[in-house]
Amino acid sequence: MRDVAVIGIGDTKFGELWDLSFRDIGIQAGLAAVEDAKLVAEEIDALYVGNMSAGRFIDQEHVAALIADYSGLARDNTPATRIEAAGASGGLALREGYLAVASGMHDIVVVGGAEKMTDVGDVLATEIQSSAADQQWEVVFGATFPALHAMIARRHMHEYGTTREQIAQVAVKNHRHGALNPKAQFQREIELASVLKAPPVAEPLGVFDCAPFSDGAAAVVLCSMEKARRYTDAPIRIAASAQASDTLALHTRQDITSFRATQVAAREAFKRARKEPKDVQLAEVHDNFTISEILAIEDLGFFPKGQGGRATMEGETALGGKLAVNTSGGLKARGDPIGATGVAQIVELVQQLRGTAGKRQVPGAKVGMAQNVGGTGATVVVTILEVV
């Protein structure tokens, strides 16, 4: 297995992008990444596209071919693959691109993630989002995607004494970060009281505990480390890529206060990267719901089980804290165009590791981790990046 580097990144603003179609956002991010890498189209060996549900959001399947076509890659008949794992589609696309280069099959690939969620109404968008869960045995009984996470929160509170305020603090912190990110969907700070008073979605979670529906795309260019220096002085190394699965339905788990898939993938990632949690300065984790971030920082090994809420409340995961979590604003403030999210996490880490994150720069960022989740933890992809 060869070393793989990220040599280019690109993303659109995330939000309700009424003027832009799925094709528009995919191309925008892809071209930005290719330009950032100073590539010419003929050099791209393959394209990987993470997307959860274009078929239901815009009645379009076969989206890898569509992006390859509109990006100008199709005229070279470049192989293009669409990867789907609900919320982990982007992270998994990155893993597939990484494996393709690491294996020696390809030298340079473009990995993109895109989702256009606002061409349907909120009711349908919620139903589509819920198809990440078990349709037959969870959703059909009225368990929405937020409801499943609410039950996780309730159990975490029951077993560890995690408080509602601690959970809500995740949103406050991520909005503070998002206010520093010009590409974020929400660039406005919010107060803890607002999160607590927000209309309930599925108790104890309210509107401000849930990431928004978003349009957006993100892309990166991966290259073998040996070739990388032809394109950039600051290649960022993929130190590890790991993936794990778990049961589709939350009720089939032994314990719903952890995502075992996160724990397994994280352990493997640290082993491959020959690193420990203390070696990591920043992490982009999957906060589609506030409680998910608390689980993530525990399951990744940064905080003991049950301590995630306390750590968040005490500022340990804010910019300037022990571990800067979701400096991009996370899914909550940055936005969550489902298929794009996992790739956007990598874009943020690369900017931080290059030292170009501006107002939200983590000083001395050397090693970053991304955790991307599908469903209620049925798929988890963990990636570790480092400065070379």
Partner: protein, 137 residues
Amino acid sequence: MMVTARFWRENPSRYNLAAKRCNNCGKVFFPPRAVCSVCHRKSLGKMECIHLKGEGEVYSFTVVHEAPSHFEMLKPYVVVMVKMDEGVMLTSQLIDVGAKDVRIGMRVRATLRRLGEDGPAGVIYYGYKFAPVRQEG
């Protein structure tokens, strides 16, 4: 919501909690599975059809305020994960109870209710919901 056959196929489990037990290790699966996730190939030919008794306790719960279209009439409604006496857990609604009165550990029992319909001209779907076990008589 759901097309007819895709729902109808699951009626034995949705009406009567049809499940499977691995006679190699005793683990119960709901919905029924062909292979035991613990014993794998050793369970082939040893998976027995059983029916859950329908009783269990609340493992976790939430009150849903933003509801999908076919549950609009019921919101806010309580969603629960129930740990059945046979050891399996499943997800459904808890009815006949005030949202404020739901507790982790409450004893509940399965009952049949409407889950939805394919529109006013479509098939009606029925399945299990849970109600608190109350004193008899």
